[in-house]
């Protein structure tokens, strides 16, 4: 079996599909450069990115798939999982080989995998929309640092831009080292230099505004008062708010 090695970008993935149709090598294995281990017995092909090829495949996909499926495709790509790249590759080949409407065949492993991975990414996106807690900084910007499981910043951009149209805000992905900054006009991608000691998830005293402490306390009070002790159900609570998200939540800070 031949191995295709690509650079992990969406363009690379689409070029790999293009190469496959040009060479028709049968079953292949798709890996990213980072995960690639050379193998003594099988040949490998390095995919070189060419915008023209990628564009052609992308346009082809858009004519064959409805919008909702293009979104699922994109979401699956953003999951950054190795298995997801393989699924995307196989799915795309399957769509181009099969009849129009093949994406509805949930009996196919890759179609199902794509739809399930997309749900995972959408869930993470929704959780970020829910669990992000802005802190009002001394300079008037609302800041929040996150480290989501998947690369969801591109997906949550519009939501926050529409919702917080009259305040400047920053959402920073600490794991992937980039963030979004809204300056009342447009959203920009930014990179920041933090020093290693600083807690980038929750900022502390000198950098936040003086009102911040009061509203954090009020929110904690509210969270406590809204609870009905007679109905306590920790299992359900943790199911809805998994512990790995507690670090974002103002109400869970001591």
């Amino acid at each position: 079996m031949q191995t295709y090695v690509f650079d992990g970008s969406l363009e690379g993935l689409l070029c790999a599909v293009f190469e496959w149709f040009e060479r028709k090598p049968g079953q292949v294995r798709l890996v990213t450069e980072a995960a690639f281990q050379p193998d003594a017995f099988s040949s490998c092909l390095h995919i070189y990115n060419e915008e023209k090829k990628a564009d052609r495949v992308w346009k082809g996909l858009q004519t064959r798939l409805p919008k909702a499926w293009i979104r699922r495709f994109y979401c699956t790509y953003l999951s950054e999982l190795d298995t997801a790249y393989t699924a995307l590759f196989e799915f795309t080949c399957y769509i181009f080989c099969g009849d129009p409407g093949s994406e509805k065949n949930y009996g196919n492993t890759f179609v199902l995998q794509l739809s399930q991975t997309a749900i995972k990414v959408e869930r993470e996106k929704h959780r970020m929309e829910a669990f992000i807690r802005f802190q009002h900084m001394a300079d008037g910007i609302f800041y929040c640092g996150i480290d989501p499981d998947f690369n969801v910043l591109p997906l949550i951009l519009t939501h926050f831009k529409n919702r917080y149209a009259d305040q400047r805000w920053i959402i920073y992905d600490i794991k992937r080292q980039y963030g979004l900054f809204y300056d009342l006009e447009k959203v920009e991608e930014i990179k920041m230099d933090f020093n290693a000691q600083q807690n980038m998830l929750k900022l502390s005293a000198p950098s936040v505004s003086d009102q911040e402490g009061l509203y954090a306390a009020l929110w904690k009070d509210y969270f406590k008062s809204a609870n009905i002790i007679a109905r306590k159900n920790t299992k359900l609570h943790v199911q809805h708010v998994p512990k790995r998200y507690w670090k974002y939540l103002t109400e869970k800070q001591q």
Partner: protein, 418 residues
Amino acid sequence: MSERIREKLNILADAAKYDVSCSSSGGNRKNDNKGLGNSHASGICHTYTEDGRCVSLLKILLTNHCIFDCAYCVSRKSNDITRAAFTVEEVVELTMNFYRRNFIEGLFLSSGIFKNADFTMERLLRVVKKLRLEERFNGYIHLKTIPGASEELIREAGMYADRMSINLEMPTESGLKLLAPDKSHQDVIKPLGDVQRQIVQFKEERKLIRSVPKFVPAGQSTQMVIGATPETDKEIMHTADAFYRNFSLKRVYYSGYIPISNDNRLPLLGSQPPLIRENRLYQTDWLMRFYGFHVNELLNDANPHLDIDIDPKLSWALRNLQHFPVDINVAAYKVILRVPGIGMGSAKKIVQARKFGKLRIDQLQKIGVAYNRAKHFIKCADSPYQLKDYQGTQIKSFILAESQSKYLKHDTSQLILF
């Protein structure tokens, strides 16, 4: 100043927590004035309390002073508790600052009745007007309609609120008369009907003239207390069904009664709230609204109560084994929906996927069907051939033997003899 507002928030949030509704879905207000807030079609739960209920709105009472003396309510006149009241500015300030930090989706504002209904409603109206007009707030607002308030006030409030609700409190008139002699279902039905008529009227006008303002775009809801008075599940669900049909309600909430006083008309202080029963009622509610079941199929004179140990769909299937097994490769979508262990998502996937070939057991499992439950009711491409027809009770014991209720602390399953 900050100490006082913390104290008020504690008192008034604590009094409001027995209102179950916290949904923020169905709003369609867009942020087109460069203000704050933009509604999210499905709503967002920003956190969950330790009892597992979602928190998406800042749910508070304007005041817990009340002229009524309803036995089931913490804010009743005769109860000896600390009373407090927010000013209009305080509520607006809290809402805006919480919303800016992405703590909440919006505001749920209710109130005890002080002086009279109109006076209270007018206060609530002032809060929403200030939020919408002065602060340009486009978040979600859920407002309580105060029974007995004038139609003009309710109509004006509806122009600014996303959802309005009035609580039915007790599922039957007799139950309500027992615990709250001053109230009747008629007080609820009239304003519900008024708002409903206006929603329809505004919608009709909007079809002709696009600039007609929105009126309660997320519809109305109501709430019933369960387990305070001895109603059967049948009475509860028939009442709910009638309200869904007559007032096109978006939701009916069922709230298990949590004992708060030593009144001899009510369950004893310290007794467990009926959580499983509440869960079963919600399941029935979903079956009625999304799965095409009629309330009479699930609850009738022969079966006035829901099974506690199995869910209502399974218990319906066991009573009606003549409809099964269903061949999932040919059956209609509506029939597949009625199979225990298959939900809406799986049913839709099955209907689309079977066009490409007959579905097998492994595919069904991957699609997300709870196969251990569904296998007694379906046939697919490679179902094992089965000579014997099992009785409903046998199937029930098979299913119970291999599943564990999340409500049971200890396993109490009995040995099967046959």
